[in-house]
């Protein structure tokens, strides 16, 4: 299995037979593309839930103030 690896040293792996810049740029772009489109929606979900939670507690406070003032 391991001898099927195409490179004998780390420097060779980075160099990619002279096409290092192009190959690694493509894989870096792809990694950013995948990460951004997974992380952004996950963070947005947390933000939405935080906002909705705040709203619910605010509504509850207003509700209880109304109740106490009507006494």
């Amino acid at each position: 299995m391991l001898d099927a690896i195409q490179f004998s040293s780390f420097a060779e792996f980075v160099d990619m037979g002279g096409y290092g810049f192009n190959v690694w740029s493509v894989y870096a772009l792809f990694a950013i593309f995948v990460a951004v489109n997974l992380i952004l929606p996950l963070r947005k979900k947390q933000k939405i839930i935080r906002q909705l939670k705040r709203r619910i507690t605010l509504d509850a406070e207003i509700q209880s103030e109304d109740d106490s003032s009507s006494d």
Binding site: A4, V23, F30, L38, I48, I49, I56
Partner: protein, 247 residues
């Protein structure tokens, strides 16, 4: 069948169902991505003509092929929105346009990075495949800006459905451009399982694994952003309020 169809249109039902699917989809995506990337970067033998730039192609082909799925998806979603007034279809369409623009951009960028060393040029205005893919990116940017300009209106839905028809015709042009106009971009290589040939099974299987990985990524990303859209648009409904106070 119809009961199922209209149930699927209910945002709450979709939210619950997709919540059960997501862990499995994410697990499958991680597995295929890992196998595809490790194989692609470490084990794929150099091409007899292209050397190690063939590593670029397994990513490029997977993203480019998948990017053609967005306009058909937008057309189906647009039709469902206009005919059955299904809110869910509109939420999917909104996020699909954004993700589709990303896919088109990455296709062009990875293609350029390959072409710059193999063709000796980053861009060629006379090549039909390149220009039609750029047109797809602009069309999707058009859909995005139309939607944000005409938020939630009937006109927006109609205009976007119309643009999706143009986009679908363009998808056919992208697909066959390399055969109709033989300029710079090469035609797709036939699937070849002969182990002795220069682009044999190891290249095909690596590409196939990346295609599956990219499709899984598309599904996960689209489901995640659609679920956000559901939470936001349904924020006043009881089930979202319950869900938020429980979390």
């Amino acid at each position: 069948m119809w009961v199922w169809f209209f149930k699927l249109g209910s945002p709450k039902w979709f939210y619950e169902l997709s919540g059960r699917w997501l862990p499995w989809l994410i697990a499958a995506m991680v597995i295929f991505m890992t196998i595809g990337l490790v194989w692609g970067l470490l084990f794929l033998p150099p091409d007899y003509q292209q050397g190690f730039t063939s590593r670029i192609l397994i990513v490029h082909v997977a993203v480019a092929g998948t990017s053609l799925a967005f306009f058909p998806l937008l057309l189906v979603a647009g039709t469902i929105t206009l005919v059955w007034r299904m809110k869910l279809a509109d939420m999917v369409a909104k996020n699909a346009a954004i993700l589709g623009a990303w896919f088109s951009f990455i296709t062009l960028a990875t293609g350029s990075l390959w072409g710059s060393v193999m063709w000796g040029t980053w861009w060629e205005w006379t090549d039909s495949r390149l220009v039609s893919m750029l047109f797809q990116l602009f069309l999707l940017l058009g859909v995005i800006s139309l939607r944000s300009a005409l938020e939630d209106s009937d006109t927006a839905a109609k205009a976007c459905a119309l643009l999706s028809i143009v986009g679908c015709i363009n998808v056919v042009i992208i697909k066959y451009s390399v055969e109709w106009w033989n300029t710079l971009h090469q035609v797709s290589s036939p699937v070849n399982m002969d182990a002795s040939s220069p682009n044999g099974p190891e290249f095909w299987i690596a590409t196939l694994i990346m295609i599956v990985a990219v499709y899984l990524f598309l599904s996960v990303s689209l489901i995640l952003s659609t679920r956000n859209e559901i939470l936001f648009r349904e924020r006043k409904s009881q089930w979202v309020q319950d869900l938020v106070s429980k979390s």
